[in-house]
């Protein structure tokens, strides 16, 4: 599933399959994921726990445990460079510049015994001269709308929102063309979340930076991404312009997810939910991974895995037989 409009792609992922293997057991965390992010574009990945979205974010920068995580199939290209076979120090070519990442929990990322200024300085030094550090650090702190006095503080002295801003300053210190943000506001309360999301929007405007925003919260993705990918059990099952996908979902999983997110009431007073459980990921799916929970499943779904099919305007695609031309003609 591609469909980035205009400009070159800063990120391209094609048919990616990633497994975690240890003690003879395998987990197929990502099984068939394809996506692209154009320069300057904001793209979202939505999905629930265990759908593979965080593995996908980490594997882009080689941040999965070596020897345990394996790319079984597919290809990742960053700024036109194929990073699929990268190991060890190879990753330094892409980490920070052109791609930086921020995580949900800044406390586990920041060094607790190092002042904020030194941590930002460390990021600056990797890409600028040592002489530039003080001026550039101050500039970065201004950029994330913090007071400069924060440079002398330790992470534990800051609020959750301030720590997230520090992590952003470190990421921006490398002048990334793509910022990967993995659940950056999940741990924050609604007011702080809105502030951080507003800051991200402003920064993208000022710096012309692309963003890959990973979230379980469709409401957050709805207003912060140009395009969205829906992930389920390691597969990108639907993609397209965010407003289109969320208002006219083609895949039954996306419909279920959006209904649950809206807390839509059924006629009997209950909330709409997705019945059943997510499939186990011990072996790769041969058929649609949503089959066991799908109300609309038909004979064809038990025969073959659906490919990405056109589902609407502006590159809207879904992996579902319901939208195949043959099925449409039949009804």
């Amino acid at each position: 599933m591609t469909g980035a409009a205009g400009g070159g792609a800063i990120l391209e992922v094609h048919a990616l399959h990633v497994t975690y293997e240890s003690a003879g057991r395998a987990v197929h965390a990502v099984q068939d994921a394809s996506l692209s992010v154009a320069e300057g574009e904001a793209v979202g990945i939505a999905g629930e726990s265990g759908c593979g979205k965080s593995t996908l974010a980490r594997v882009l920068l080689g941040l999965v445990p070596a020897g345990i995580a394996h790319i079984r199939n597919g290809r990742i290209a960053i700024g036109g460079v194929d990073v699929t076979g990268f190991a060890g120090r190879d990753w330094e070519q892409v980490r920070g510049q052109p791609v930086a990442i921020v995580f949900q929990d800044p406390l586990s990322f920041l060094n607790p015994v190092m002042r904020v200024g030194d941590q930002i300085g460390e990021a600056v030094r990797r890409h600028d001269s040592a002489a530039a550090v003080p001026a550039r650090s101050a500039e970065l702190v201004d950029l994330v709308r913090l007071q400069r006095s924060v440079l002398r503080r330790y992470p534990h002295e800051l609020s959750g929102g301030m720590r997230q801003r520090v992590m952003l300053a470190i990421a921006l210190g490398c002048r990334p063309r793509l910022l990967v943000a993995d659940e950056p506001t999940t741990a924050l309360d609604a007011t702080t979340e809105a502030e951080i999301l507003a800051l991200l929007r402003e920064l993208r405007r000022e710096l012309g930076m692309a963003m890959l925003l990973i979230s379980h919260d469709l409401g957050v993705l709805r207003w912060n991404c140009d395009r969205i990918y829906i992930m389920y059990a390691g597969h990108t099952v639907e993609s397209g312009a965010t407003a289109e996908v969320l208002s006219r979902p083609a895949h039954p999983y996306t419909r279920g997810l959006a209904g649950a997110a809206r807390l839509a009431r059924l006629p009997d007073g209950h909330f709409a939910m997705i019945g059943g459980d997510v499939p186990r990921l011990e072996r790769p799916a041969r058929l649609c991974p949503f089959l066991s929970r799908c109300d609309a499943a038909m004979a064809r779904c038990r025969e073959a895995m659906p490919p990405a099919l056109p589902a609407g305007a502006n590159g809207h695609q879904a992996r579902c037989w319901l939208i195949a031309p043959a099925h449409r003609e039949a009804i």
Binding site: E48, S49, R145, S159, D189, A190, T191, T192, E193, A194, E195, L197, A198, H216, D217, L218, G219, V220, R222, W223, L246, G256, L257, A258, A260, A261, R262, L263, R265, G269, H270, F271, A272, M273, I274
Partner: protein, 333 residues
């Protein structure tokens, strides 16, 4: 409204520690929960929601005020009497893993909850019925498991079953759904709806999730810096919020169907010395707000707010209120 099963009357709690300024976590808060009712308590982190929950459960002692359960004050009870009475009010916490003894099986956890309620030995059938109610069936498959052998969603369902085991009058649920995926969230809410229909239990639901408050509660109470800023029927609070803080909370909600307002006005986090606790962040703050603490006033049917600028819904002649509002209220989140 039917009779209150839980009444919190003028509760206050200040935390004092050596070398630190006292923290006034809960200040003169009164709140009622009726049988079969769900009251949502919302507010940002640090607003005192969880402290209020712990006061209501009598896990901590209030400095002032009373907790009244089914017409009886818990404050004057001690020892065994208190323990028995307190079973009528059960907690569900955010992290079920942390609230279970990891060395007890599901069977042992449930029988403890049932027998603790002063009833006879817990029968297999009663435990199976509880597990079935929370969709953990067949019971035989779960009774001998340990909490760590359950998934996150199953553990939260077990927490609900355990809270219901003593047949409480009220359940106080502190962020029971945060961290749960949206499909699990709907499932747990459905469970709480069914339980209420069956037993008439009242819920005090503490949440930062306005979607949940909107969809699930009959009444909403908004806390800010230890005080109730606004409370009233859910529909009325959401459609016509009276307090600027409530409007701000609603404005930042990221919903699928409504554009959130940009969080442009930088909130000032400094404490208000005197007057309204919200005035440093309030777009409507006036001289009065800086000097005088607003009282909670009833301005519509069952709908109160603690704001000098909030006008009565009937009157509408308030000169301050007729100024253009800086933060428009939104009808739903």
């Amino acid at each position: 409204m039917s009779t209150a099963v839980l009444e919190l009357r003028h509760l206050s709690k200040t935390f004092r520690g050596r070398g630190m300024a006292p923290v006034r976590a809960v200040i003169d808060v009164s709140l009622e929960v009726a049988a079969g009712e769900c009251v949502a308590l919302v507010g940002e982190s640090g607003s005192g929601k969880s402290t209020l929950a712990r006061l209501a459960l009598r896990l901590i002692e209030p400095d002032a005020g009373e907790v009244i359960l089914r017409g009886q004050s818990l404050m004057r009870m001690r020892g065994g009497t208190l323990r028995r009475a307190r079973r009528g009010i059960q907690p569900i916490f955010q992290d079920p893993a942390a609230s279970f003894n990891p060395r007890r099986t599901v069977r042992s956890l449930l029988s403890q909850a049932i027998e603790g309620a002063g009833r006879e030995r817990a029968g297999e059938a009663e435990m199976a019925a509880l597990l079935a109610a929370v969709m953990l069936k067949p019971a035989a498959e779960y009774l001998d498991r340990y909490p760590h052998e359950l998934s996150g969603g199953q553990r939260q369902r077990l927490a609900i079953a355990r809270a219901l085991a003593p047949r409480p009058a009220v359940i106080i649920a502190d962020e029971p759904l945060s961290g749960a995926d949206v499909s699990i969230r709907a499932q747990l809410l459905n469970l709480l709806i069914d339980m209420q229909a069956r037993s008439g239990v009242g819920y005090l639901l503490i949440t930062h999730d306005m979607h949940v408050a909107r969809a699930f509660s009959h009444r909403i109470a908004v806390m800010y810096r230890g005080r109730i800023a606004e409370r009233g029927p859910t529909g009325s609070v959401l459609a016509a919020p009276l307090h600027p803080y409530t409007r701000q909370l609603l404005a930042v909600v990221h919903s699928l169907d409504r554009l959130p307002r940009d969080a442009t006005a930088k909130p000032v986090r400094s404490a208000a010395g005197t007057g309204c606790g919200f005035h440093p962040r309030c777009p409507l703050a006036s001289e009065t707000c800086r000097k005088l603490e607003p009282m909670l006033r009833e301005l519509g049917p069952g709908h109160s707010a603690a704001c000098h600028h909030a006008a009565s819904k009937e009157g509408g002649g308030d000169p301050i209120q007729s100024q253009p509002q800086l933060i428009p209220g939104i009808n739903a989140c």
